[in-house]
Amino acid sequence: MSKPNLLELHNISKSFGALTALSNLSFHIGEGEVVGLLGDNGAGKSTTVNLISGIHKPSDGYLTVDGKRTLFTCRSDSADAGIETIYQHTALVDSLSITRNIFMGRELTDRFGFLKQAEMREIAMEVLKNAVHIAGIDSPDTLVGNLSGGQKQAVAIARAVYFKKRVLLLDEPTSALSVRETEALLNQVLKLKAENVSSVLVTHNLYHAYQVCDRFVIMSHGTKVFDVEKADTTVGQLTEYVVLS
């Protein structure tokens, strides 16, 4: 038997009271694969992201990680499984430095809990320089509040890279970015793919998705309507599915 997929969703349904947000949704994410999760507003993309990151629990169905059935009950469960969610409004603290944000909640400390500041700074500098190339940042001591939207996302990605995450969930990552920043972000996704890190790109923008994704999952009304490899489709066909379904 071949190696199990990194992450699989099996017949997942989710309802909030009388409202059914997801019904019978199944798809998978392979190792080092970039999957575009597409669909119009209200298709259930955000619910899916929240489900994979552990914020929502499925009403029915289940997830598997490396073929093993798992239940995420909170964010830290998914984080432990190697999943990092990067939100539109990234989960960073503006009043803290880049270094402190990268290590937030996972600080390097001595046994009394005092921060190893020099060490963290050095690692942050290393990550910023090599793993994630962020233009226009000269120091890891810069406060995150002073960064642009793209730079903030890069810091969030740097955090994921340093902590060796296996899947990045990018929720509308390009919506607030300039053209140049978008380009940098998409390159980053490809670079991570080369290092075998998978990404799920949740987006409206089919062109951005088409540039980097290996496969596309199109959702409509809480369920999957199309699942196709890049080689077997075109932007035109994807658009048709998103608009018409």
Partner: protein, 339 residues
């Protein structure tokens, strides 16, 4: 003095000068530091020029300052840490009085002050935890919950003790530990310096401090990353209550008695010191040095006005102006993203 003046007067490129100023301003509490140093220089020069009329440097005046600063300092340190985590405690003035009376009564019953004082601190911590539990459990604004605390514990003092003062007569060792002096420096002042150093380490060099800033700065983000923000805030409340009790110990040992009405208004002064020191009312921003400079500034200005024989009634107007100016200034800095 002269070489410094000569150096600053020497021609220097505009950008270089700007960058030094900007560097200081960019540091946490940099702006308040500049204001404080300017005031000190003016006062010291004034005192040297007119030693008879402006007795700023006289030993008596310095002693008064050193005795007055620690009480507000303790209250502001506790209130400040809590404020950075995004909550307020308006009850600290009342808790300060209540725990002091508790301690003094225990000593009057014959219990050693070395046991009574920790009991007082413990009581402060418990009241802080209670404030925190109510705030967090019911998702209420801490402003309202601790406003309730302010009235409740003020009333509790009167219920327990009536409106009479309580004498505090601890053993000599206790008195000299908290109100004696070492090399001419007041013991309470040494305590506050030690506490400032300890709080600085805790907030800026310890994991807990990082979590306090994260909790106040972006609670959602802190929780997403796995920080237990409820616990961080609860510890903040406990620290605020405990430090109110410590302030009570310092004040009571110095004066030798507790007045039931003595804490009224101190909670607002403590918050004022924090705001002057650059703390954001929304949480997530500030520094321990800033808080301490805020306390020093309030006391220095009060002191200067008294030395200049300004009528006591008007002192509050100056402090009020200072607070509002500081708030405007901090707001501008926040918006420009300088600090």
């Amino acid at each position: 003095m002269t070489p410094i003046l000569a150096e600053s007067a020497a021609p220097r490129s505009r950008t270089q000068k700007q960058s030094i100023l900007k560097q200081i301003m960019g540091k946490p509490a940099g702006a308040i530091f500049l204001v404080f140093m300017t005031l000190q220089i003016v006062c010291i020069v004034g005192a040297l020029l007119y030693p008879d009329d402006f007795r700023y440097l006289s030993p008596q005046n310095l002693t008064i300052l050193m005795k007055a600063i620690p009480v507000l300092g303790c209250l502001a340190l506790g209130a400040g840490v809590l404020m950075i985590s995004g909550e307020f405690d308006l009850s600290i003035g009342s808790v300060y009085t209540f725990t002091a009376i508790l301690m003094a009564s225990l000593v009057n019953l014959g219990i050693s002050a070395f046991i009574a004082a920790p009991i007082g601190i413990l009581a402060g911590v418990m009241i802080g935890l209670l404030n925190g539990q109510i705030t967090l459990r019911f998702g209420l604004p801490s402003f309202i919950v601790t406003l309730g605390g302010l009235l409740f514990w003020r009333g509790a003092v009167l219920l327990y003790n009536g409106a009479v003062q309580v004498r505090f007569d601890p053993e000599a060792a206790f008195s000299s530990l908290f109100s004696g002096s070492l090399f001419g420096i007041n013991a309470a002042f040494i305590w506050i310096i030690l506490l400032v150093a300890a709080f600085h380490l805790l907030l800026h060099s310890h994991r807990f401090g990082n979590h306090v800033f994260a909790t106040g700065g972006n609670r959602g983000a802190a929780e997403a990353i796995g920080i237990n923000t409820g616990r961080v805030k609860l510890i903040g409340f406990a620290i605020a209550g405990g430090m109110a009790a410590v302030a009570g110990i310092l004040a009571t040992t110095r004066v030798g008695s507790v007045q039931p009405g003595q804490g009224a208004g101190l909670e607002l002064q403590a918050i004022a010191a924090c705001v002057i020191g650059g703390l954001s009312l929304r949480g997530g921003r500030g520094s321990i040095i800033g808080i301490f400079l805020g306390v020093l500034l309030i006391h220095t200005i009060t002191d200067v006005l008294l030395l200049l024989r300004a009528p006591g009634f008007y002192l509050d107007m100056f402090i009020a102006t200072l607070i509002v100016l500081a708030a405007i200034f901090n707001h501008l800095i926040e918006r420009r993203g300088l600090a």
